[in-house]
Amino acid sequence: MESKGHVDKATVCTSFKNERAIGTLVRFRGKEHGKMGNRVGIVGAGQTHHRSKIPQCNGQELIGIAVRRALESADLTMKDIDAVVIGNMDHFESINYVDMWSVLGFGGYMKPVLKVTTGGTTGSAVGHAAFYHVASGLFDVVLAIGWEQNSESDTTAAIVTHCEPLIERDFYGGAIGGLAAQYSMYMDKYGATEEDAAHVSVRDRGNAARYNPYAHLRAEITVEDVMKSPYISYPLRLLHMCPRSDGACAVLFAREEKATKITPKPAWILGLGSSHRSTYLGDEMGLAGLHSLEIASKQAYEMAGIREPFKQIDVAEMYLPAASAGVSWMEAMGFCEEGGGPAFIRSGVTNMGGDLPINPSGGVIATNCIGATGLIRIGEAALQIMGKAEERQVPDAKIAVATGFGGCFWSDVMIISSLRQLD
């Protein structure tokens, strides 16, 4: 269809004219898309010491702690922040229009503020949204905030309300039932066991205990501990599962020119992927692994130019809501062949010191402040790349992946690197 109207190109383009556009071609689904708007780097991150409850803080103060730490890490003040993106899940704290309420958590008077919420993927969606704020060229330095105070309500009761009221809500057993059902299928198809999943618990909880002072659960556990813990929802046991936590996380995103002035080693974002493909639990039946993660990671890898994930990625912060996910979702990431999860985990390559450490922070099984959790993965991955991960640092990490999970088996993926681009 030919355009009939005349558009003054100079007038239209001037608004968004961006001399800083760089020449990187974005490949997405095999099609070239023209120039990527702006290179974006993460320049700082901060989080609270997550706990089952933090009685000395209300929600706004909790946010304030994470924001102050993030600003301090980058030697910035709120004056340097051009926009704020925040996310959490409403029904956990019963606050409507959290974007407006949250301004007390960061002195947001006269600041642009926006809220994103997508269930469990909220934290990663917030990270993606902050990326887009900067990549668009509209904002130079953006503060992303994820937070949750699960202790303020009955978490499972709130989660159950995500189910479709007419046909699912009366039956659905909270967040755990679906994950349990999925692992049952994986066990049936590939012979995986509860013990395989227990190895993931031991790995992540061990990392949290040894290396991460911010993690909620900091006691080491053994495979025997896991196998002795009671079933919550067969085949998942108590120690396979994540806790619910109170906590907040703040991550700073900046446009390339600003980023390099703020910190010597920004964590560049090379690729994004996202798939929210299912609406009902039943849509996922028959799938033993996480299909959305496969879709999202492929998108992110393609954008970043990653062809051999297991070889090229140095560290992964993955949103594993249950230890079973750490077994059955490995192939979706392209880390091993189909059905290869158990052997992959038992080989030890994902432990600290292995070829591809997963969850040096302890991951979600050690800390789950839901609205923050996906953003904590991004923040932790960025800290690894910036060389600021302290005791949990993976030496010489150049390429990291951060994943988010939630909703109805949805996934978000972000590739972060110290390199501006891969070959």
């Binding site: 409850k53 933090i54 009685p55 000395q56 803080c57 209300n58 929600g59 706004q60 103060e61 304030g64 003040t77 709120m78 029904h91 704290e93 019963s94 301004v103 007390l104 958590g105 960061f106 002195g107 008077y109 105070q149 202790s151 303020e152 309500s153 009955d154 009761a157 709130a158 309300t161 009221p165 007419l166 809500r169």
Partner: protein
């Protein structure tokens, strides 16, 4: 429970979400309510950068994000900045049956307003600029409604 809705054949499904919440006050708000409960005293706090005194007190200055650690005892009297008389019912949430009055009161010593109920007052004769005084309950629990309302001073 499903209900037929007239000729259109449209049905509605009725349900209710019932969740209980316990909100952490945090240290600043805890002190605010403790002072009201135990001593019938209203405290604000002061921003070291802006110099503004806020009530209710909060940890972070709303405008400049500085940490506010200086508590300031305020009078229980103040001036009415704005008000309304609520004349419609909303189930569950209203502290009294309508009509009732709400106002924003600038307490003596504070730079910002304090939103609360107005009572013992002619609802048709409320005026901005009126001088008001807090009336405390005899038995207090440590929340905002330990102050029953503000009445003409």
């Amino acid at each position: 429970m499903t209900v037929e809705l007239g000729d259109t054949g449209t049905r509605i499904h009725q349900s209710r979400i019932r969740l209980r919440y316990n909100w952490w006050l945090g240290q600043v708000m805890s002190r605010f309510y403790r002072e009201i409960k135990e001593r019938c005293k209203i405290f604000g706090n002061k921003c070291p950068e802006c110099g503004l005194v806020y009530v209710p007190p909060k940890e972070n200055c709303p405008k400049c994000f500085a940490k506010m650690t200086e508590f300031v005892e305020l009078a229980d009297t103040g001036t009415l900045k704005t008000f309304t008389v609520v004349r419609y019912p909303v189930p569950f949430i209203q502290p009294r049956n309508p009509p009732f009055a709400l106002g924003v009161i600038q307490l003596d010593g504070a730079d910002t307003g304090f939103t609360h109920l107005l009572g013992e007052i002619d609802l048709e004769k409320i005026e901005i600029g009126m001088r008001l005084k807090a009336v405390f309950r005899d038995v207090r629990e440590g929340n905002l409604l330990d102050i029953m309302f503000f009445k003409p001073a």
